[in-house]
């Protein structure tokens, strides 16, 4: 009761919420990479790969239940490699967080605050997220659970109401499928399961480990269903030809929401309000885990003050990066690299651990 541990279900909420935020960010890539409405196959394939990878990863986590991927690496690898893994995760979290931050700020500016400078929005989000990240794991887990209840579920419900004028024939033709496109977009889909990377850290903070292993698998399944449902929803709503041109398909979907008795004209703003809470929570989570990876890499005791180092870095990266829609042409190789490393590093650690028979 007085410790900082979280429950397995709080952990799954964290993983699903983070994944959802990245899925909405990467949805345009999935839509545009494949010729035809078969992106859901990429998602299913990515989910299957991750589900299979979960077996050795779970074994690794069962063995080192109190450790993060970085502290396990410290035990298994030479200092240079383990330090490199730590630095990679810090770098990856910082970059991912700033991309999310930038994209999210741009959405807010475009939809809500036309006159407010982007930097003001970024600073407002960063300062608030910093306050949360400093409070520790249990606060983050509590926030996530509340965000799921008050924001994610209403947000998904709003999206569901957009199927009012949907054309379900848009999901066809499935065959012949663009196999090359599907294969190429699997890394994009895999990155949408960003919770997989978070899991390498959050597992060490979960109180009841036995239950957690089963829940880790459940996370992949739930996230995959959510991911595919959202993809299909956008496709049936707009058709793939129109959907490939969308920068923020989730916002576009909400423009056509038809809730009986709902009198607001712009439902996308209402939806965006919910999305603010969801994405903001995700930024808080990422900031916290960046802190955690920093302290594990530099072997300092747990403290939230790393957030003060993060805030200027995140601000600078977010300010320097172009908008997500401008990055699409150049983003393929970095996404391939990130996806591969996020997927392979845990497997590599698990393989090394098995080989070494470390207990």
């Amino acid at each position: 009761m007085f410790n900082q541990d979280i429950t397995p279900y709080q952990n799954i909420s964290i993983l699903i919420l983070v994944s959802f935020a990245f899925q909405s960010l990467l949805m345009p890539s999935i839509l545009s990479e494949i010729d035809g409405p078969v992106g859901w196959i990429s998602i299913a394939a990515a989910a299957l790969l991750l589900y299979l990878a979960m077996k050795p990863v779970n074994k690794l986590m069962e063995k080192h239940s109190e450790d993060t991927i970085i502290s396990i690496s410290n035990k298994l690898f030479p200092k240079f490699i383990s330090r490199s893994i730590g630095l990679y995760y810090i770098f990856m979290f910082l970059i991912s967080n700033s991309i999310l931050l930038k994209d999210f700020s741009e959405q807010i500016k475009l939809m809500m605050l036309f006159k407010t400078p982007l930097s003001t929005i970024i600073i407002a989000i960063l300062l608030t997220a910093g306050y949360a990240a400093k409070k520790g794991m249990q606060t983050i887990a509590n926030i996530t659970n509340i965000a799921v209840v008050i924001a994610l579920i209403p947000y998904l419900l709003i999206i569901v109401f957009s199927t009012y004028y949907a054309d379900y024939t848009n999901i066809l033709p499935i065959y012949p499928a663009d196999v090359v496109g599907v294969a190429k977009s699997i890394p994009f889909a895999m990155l949408g399961f960003f919770g997989f990377s978070i899991l390498m850290f959050s597992n060490s903070r979960v109180a009841i480990k036995e239950k957690n292993l089963m829940i880790n698998k459940r996370f992949i399944v739930i996230s995959a269903i959510l991911y595919m449902a959202c993809y299909l929803l956008i496709v049936v709503k707009f058709g793939i030809k129109e959907a490939v041109n969308m920068v923020w398909p989730f916002i576009s979907v909400m423009k056509f929401v038809n809730i009986p008795g709902f009198f607001f004209e712009s439902t996308e703003i209402v939806g965006l309000c919910f999305q603010i809470v969801v994405t903001f929570t995700c930024i808080c989570i990422l900031s916290y885990f960046t802190n955690l990876s920093m302290q594990e890499t530099f072997k300092t005791r747990e403290n939230g003050y790393f957030i003060f180092i993060q805030i200027p870095i995140l601000y600078l990266i977010a300010a320097a990066l172009p908008g997500m829609y401008m990055m699409f042409p150049y983003i393929r190789i970095p996404i391939y690299a990130l996806s591969a490393l996020n997927f392979l590093i845990p497997l590599l650690v698990a393989f090394k651990d098995r080989k070494k028979g470390f207990i």
């Binding site: 429950t7 605050l113 929005i121 407002a124 509590n142 659970n145 209840v149």
Partner: protein
């Protein structure tokens, strides 16, 4: 109470003066301590059949039941005391004999030091000192004018018990004991306040309460270092986890049924003497949204009533801020007709929406504060005059729009649906912050404000229990969700709340 009430060693004087054999010396010492205190009565009597034993009764006038002392102590000591043998060799044996055979009062206690005598006297007891004895006797005689058991003004119900706590702690404990006739209901007395020496009782049900929570409460009460406790709010502020937070982390009630219900859930009740408000720990967010009446009316209407309260919650906090955000930043959200109406009504208003909202909210708070400070009939008149006249005149003068009046009035009405007064006050205060955020950032500001609020609430704990339980762990504690936004049937409420980790539930 006297047996245990000196737990708080911090607040006790460290110097002890033994009772002397010479009664005159003891009297002189007491008179010195109570110099210029005219309400202290010193009554010298001569006891025994031969009237050879000098005795001194000391008490505080107005705090004792004189009749009991006269009838059951003084009369016996003066007329019926038969101590012929002891009179020849008086010593402490007299004291034992006197307390066993000549005082027909239920509660007596031997006192060893003058400081103990002083403490007891100031609590309303009578002290009997006997010449040649180095001990004193406390005669239980507490009695002072007290308010009867009345219905609490702040927590009135349509259905339910009409009794409420009063300023006497023992009466309050009795009112709870009448509802829970279980020997497992424990009452631990303590005293807090170096000068006020206020009596307090920590109540809990032994086999239900979470021991960690109980220990936390006891430890925090023990650590209170203060001169005086004049109201239970002093204790509340000193034992809550985060006293900088706007949100109350300890519940309070004047209703014995609410206190009994909390005990049965496994919570700890703290009764403080001289105040009708009893404290309940731990308190969580949803407990401030529950009213005793929810459980006394039929479950389905109560369920709907509670849901309405949850609808009122965002209205209290956000409605004026939403008005500001929508009119100032996002008029495109409104249906065309409403947007046109708002634009037309705002055409002649000189102030921006945020100023309008802040002004009206300020007026409402002024009216509310004024009506609280004056007598009830005039207070309600002030409320009516303030609400109607100021609102109407402001609209006619073109200072504010009718929509702003409607929104502010709706917000004020919604705030009255929150059962807990201090929680409602907190929400009202937060409203101002949301208006300012909406004025600066529109809906984005409100979302950021909400996020900060959620972070803050998720950080808060009450005696170690997360404040946002069971919502913050809604999958694990899903069985607790049934008594949050809705009120389930009584027969479905057999289990103790999971978040409290009650001892009995742990064993299940």
């Amino acid at each position: 109470m006297s047996e245990n009430n000196n737990n708080n060693t911090k607040n006790q004087n460290t110097t002890k003066t033994n009772i002397e054999k010479d009664l005159n010396k003891n009297e002189a010492s007491l008179r010195k301590i109570f110099k210029n205190a005219d309400d202290i009565v010193f009554r010298k009597i001569e006891g025994g059949q031969n009237q050879k034993i000098n005795m001194l009764l000391v008490y505080v006038d107005g705090m004792t039941t004189k009749e009991a002392i006269s009838e059951y102590a003084v009369q016996n000591l003066m007329m019926n005391m038969n101590l012929e043998n002891l009179e020849k060799s008086p010593d402490n044996e007299i004291l034992n004999a006197v307390s066993k055979t000549n005082i027909a009062i239920l509660e007596v206690k031997t006192l060893l030091t003058l400081e103990e005598c002083v403490d007891k006297m100031l609590s309303g007891e009578t002290v009997l000192l006997i010449d040649t004895c180095t001990k004193g006797i406390m005669l239980s005689s507490r009695g002072w004018p007290m308010r009867g058991v009345q219905e609490p003004a702040a927590e009135t119900l349509i259905r339910g018990a009409r009794d409420g706590f009063n300023e006497t702690m023992k009466v309050n404990i009795t009112l709870i004991r009448r509802r829970i006739r279980d020997p497992k209901l424990k009452v631990k007395y303590t005293q807090v306040g170096s000068r006020s020496k206020t009596d307090m009782a920590i109540m809990y049900i032994e086999d239900i309460v979470n021991k960690t929570v109980l220990d936390t409460v006891e430890k925090r009460i023990k650590n209170i270092d203060i001169e005086a406790i004049l109201e239970s709010s002093y204790v509340e502020e000193m034992i809550e986890d985060d006293s900088y937070s706007l949100f109350p982390q300890i519940e309070n009630t004047e209703r014995p049924d609410a206190a009994a219900s909390a005990l049965l859930e496994g919570r700890v009740v703290i009764a403080v003497d001289n105040t009708p408000t009893v404290l309940i720990a731990p308190a969580i967010f949803v407990s401030f949204m529950q009213s005793s009446e929810d459980y006394y009316e039929r479950w389905l209407p109560s369920c709907i009533t509670r849901m309405i309260r949850y609808v009122a919650l965002p209205i209290v906090m956000l409605l004026p801020a939403l008005y500001v955000a929508v009119t100032q930043f996002h008029p495109n959200m409104l249906p065309t007709q409403l947007a046109l109406y708002v634009a037309a009504s705002r055409a002649n208003v000189p102030f921006p929406p945020y100023f309008e909202a802040l002004l009206m909210e300020l007026v409402i708070e002024l009216v509310r504060e004024a009506s609280m400070r004056i007598t009830t009939p005039v207070g309600s008149t002030i409320g009516l005059v303030g609400g109607l006249v100021i609102g109407q005149s402001s609209v006619e003068a073109g200072l504010i729009t009718p929509l702003a009046v409607i929104i502010v009035a709706l917000t004020a009405i919604a705030s009255f649906t929150i059962p807990s007064y201090n929680f409602s006050t907190t929400l009202r205060m937060i409203r101002f912050a949301f208006i300012i955020l909406a004025a600066v950032f529109g809906l984005f500001g409100i979302s950021i404000g909400l996020s900060v609020l959620i972070i803050h609430l998720c950080t808060l704990k009450s005696c170690g229990i997360p404040y946002m339980s069971p919502l913050s762990s809604f999958i694990e504690d899903r069985s607790d969700l049934k008594d949050t936004i809705i009120r389930p049937r009584i027969k479905n409420m057999v289990r103790k709340p999971k978040y409290l980790q009650a001892e009995k539930e742990k064993g299940n």
